[in-house]
């Protein structure tokens, strides 16, 4: 197994405020396309992530392209793509960003992704973007858009209302109209008219990406020893930073390589990781989960690319897009699914043949916190072991996390 991060029980730090070097990427993304192994691709991704100035977006702009920041989870990136603009996943500021202004504007008891996203807006790190879309996945994301509209008045920002009534026949027409509100703004940003034809093509591009992402997830589920969680995560994460047309061949090649990997199956317990559907844990934490003796065979990372399997463009692609949200089977914390929570977690456990569940919820992420209680009830009834831990985008000590994860593994292994 390639060792990606050299992690001792505790990771080494750098001085506060210090960030990695600025990375320059060519406008044709050849650095990625020329990577000759998964390891190299993943290492490059790691470097790109350490640079908070969005190197891939800057590269895209070199040829005059426009970019739209998409906050997780259900932002219809296809719409952005259909205008020929680059939809970029906004997944917070990562470990190296110092938060010093966002705290004051937002409040203290809020998740890190909201704070770091605002901090980036306030410190010019989001300058490479022309517009931002925030879905109504929670009150924080929603309110964040309201602050963006004040602090970045020269850029468009939009709050997309996501319906929570999934049974009314009026929901899909409403969501189509809701998408049209977004389209009005995107048209202004792009200086172009919306085209059904283009959207149809975009849907197909995303379908291809989704199919590959799905293949990767199946590999992780069926042969978790072939791809580490960190590799897996970085490959997905890259999908929100590069043009899809670039990510697709990269991912395809990576899959071929990974599927052929010869690797010994360790004696590790199979777990699913529930909760990080929006804010993302640090790489160290992800690695720690597997280091202590787990195989992660199911998770909620990078949901922005994964909330539905496939969208048939159909006669009215906009309606198809709306339908996909309303009918999506994915059951995460930012979607109303009364009375089915228990069944959902159990079927996920069964599908992945997991031996336990690790709830890894972002600190202060209330939707995730509330689901844990309902999930726990179902797991208790079934007698399945679980562990609940909170994480933050930024952390320097992993002692408590390690202690709890080790105990969890020991509690399953020892008799």
């Amino acid at each position: 197994m390639p060792q990606l991060l050299q992690i001792r029980p505790e990771s080494d730090g750098v001085a506060a405020g210090e960030t990695g070097p600025r990375i320059e990427i060519s406008s044709d993304f050849r650095e990625f396309l020329q990577a000759d192994s998964v390891e190299q691709l993943v290492r490059l991704t790691q470097e790109v992530l350490a640079d908070p100035t969005y190197p891939t977006v800057r590269a895209w702009r070199k040829t005059g392209g426009k970019a739209v920041g998409c906050f997780p989870v259900y932002t219809p990136q296809e719409l952005v793509h259909s205008f020929g603009m680059l939809p970029v996943a906004m997944h917070g500021g990562g470990e190296n960003l110092e938060i010093s202004r966002a705290d004051a504007a937002l409040g203290s008891f809020l998740c890190s992704i909201s704070k770091s996203t605002l901090e980036m807006a306030l410190t010019g790190l989001l300058d490479p973007f022309d517009a931002f879309v925030f879905p109504y996945i929670c009150d924080v994301s929603r309110n964040l858009e309201g602050i963006f509209s004040r602090v970045l008045p020269q850029r468009a920002s939009h709050m997309l209302h996501l319906p929570q009534n999934f049974t009314s026949p009026a929901t899909i027409p409403f969501l189509v109209a809701e998408y049209r509100r977004l389209i009005e703004k995107l048209e202004r940003v792009a200086g172009d008219r919306f085209s059904q034809e283009n959207l149809r093509a975009s849907l197909e591009v995303f379908n291809e990406q989704r199919a590959l992402v799905d293949r990767l997830a199946s590999l992780k589920r069926d042969a978790p020893w072939k791809v580490s969680l960190v590799e897996y995560y970085l490959l997905l994460r890259l999908g929100g930073l590069l043009p899809r047309e670039v990510h697709i061949p990269l991912l395809r090649r990576a899959l071929t390589e990974l599927e052929a990997r010869q690797q010994r199956n360790k004696d590790a317990i199979r777990v699913i990781v529930i909760g990080p559907f929006c804010e993302q844990p640090t790489l160290e934490l992800l690695q720690l989960v597997e280091d202590v003796g787990c195989y992660v065979v199911g998770e909620e990372l990078q949901m922005l690319h994964r909330w539905c399997p496939r969208i048939e463009p159909g006669a009215d692609p906009l309606e198809s897009l709306a339908t996909s949200y309303v009918r999506t089977p994915v059951d995460i914390g930012v979607r109303s699914t009364p009375t089915t929570k228990g069944a959902a977690i159990l079927s996920r456990v069964d599908d992945s043949k997991a031996q336990g569940v690790v709830f890894l919820t972002a600190k202060f992420c209330e939707p995730a916190l509330e689901d844990v209680v309902l999930y726990r009830k179902a797991l208790d009834r079934r007698g399945l072991p679980y562990l609940h831990m909170e994480f933050e985008e930024k952390s320097t000590t992993y002692e408590q996390a390690r202690l709890q994860l080790e105990t969890f593994v020991e509690s399953i292994l020892f008799d």
Binding site: P385, E399, F414
Partner: protein
């Protein structure tokens, strides 16, 4: 067969020597003062002296506690939860719920008959929930640590602490002193606050008798009383429960050693 268990805690290092997984030969403890490795060496020496056993005679060494990775000679390391649970069951075989209150953390776990951890939970941040807080109060209130508990027992109307933060809690205590609240009530308030925090952890994992208290606070009669009152049931305590984690790791070391001897090809953890 002699196995050693070493618990490198945040505040104290504790050690136990165990014969055949059954008989405690020696126990020892020393404050870790930030350098647990040094303290651990001294604890090992002391154990050897007490039991009259040379280091080479120890067949297997298992470590636990936050410094469990710091001892290169160890044969195995286990987490604090796993080891305290084993120790608790050794002392009180009917234990189903273990409460471990140490220097910096309160932990609780529900366990099976064999001492296997079923569910566990530790205190989250923002809690004046463990031994260090008692130590600081002892300093502030100028009551020696050993006298905190006995003095608290005289309390008639314990004064609870509402602040969630240890620092702000200290201010609150000082305010109470200034307002003339009797010392015993303040002290009992400290222990009750600690036990209430432990209680909410216990409720999370599910309360089932018997409950056993382990860790440093087991030495404190005030804490024991407060916990009994808060939980409303009997709580097992024993002097050796102070060493529960070290004891448990020695026990785990023993069973690991047995397994190794059965299957010599396995090189062990």
């Amino acid at each position: 067969m002699i196995t050693g268990g070493l618990d490198l805690g945040a505040g104290t290092v504790k050690g136990v020597l165990l014969e055949d997984g059954r008989r405690i030969l020696a126990t020892a403890s020393l404050p870790s003062r930030g350098i647990p490795v040094q303290a651990a060496r001294q604890v090992v020496d002391e154990l050897g002296e007490t039991a009259n056993i040379a280091p080479a005679e120890v067949d297997y060494l298992c470590t636990t506690g936050f410094g469990r990775y710091m001892i290169p000679e160890r044969n195995l390391q286990v987490s604090d939860f796993t080891s305290s649970a084993r120790g608790a069951v050794f002392l009180f075989p009917k234990t189903h719920l273990v409460v471990d209150v140490g220097t910096q953390a309160s932990r609780t776990m529900s366990i099976s008959e064999t001492g296997k951890v079923l569910k566990f939970k530790m205190n989250e941040k923002c809690a004046a929930g463990a031994g260090r807080f008692v130590e600081r109060c002892s300093k502030y209130l100028q009551v020696p640590l050993e006298e905190m508990g006995p003095k608290a027992l005289a309390s008639q109307h314990p004064k609870l602490i509402s602040s969630v933060c240890a620092v702000l809690a200290e201010t609150e205590i000082i305010n109470n002193v200034a307002e003339g609240v009797p010392l015993s009530d303040i002290l009992m308030g400290v222990f009750l606050s600690l036990s209430q925090r432990a209680y909410s952890l216990m409720r999370y994992v599910g309360i089932q008798p018997e409950v056993t208290l382990v860790g440093g606070l087991v030495r404190d009669v005030g804490m024991v009383k407060a916990l009994r009152d808060t939980v409303g049931m009997e709580v097992n305590v024993a002097p050796d429960a102070y060493y529960a984690a070290a004891l448990g790791s020695a026990i785990l070391g023993h069973s690991r050693l047995l397994k190794l001897r059965e299957t010599p090809s396995d090189t062990g953890g």
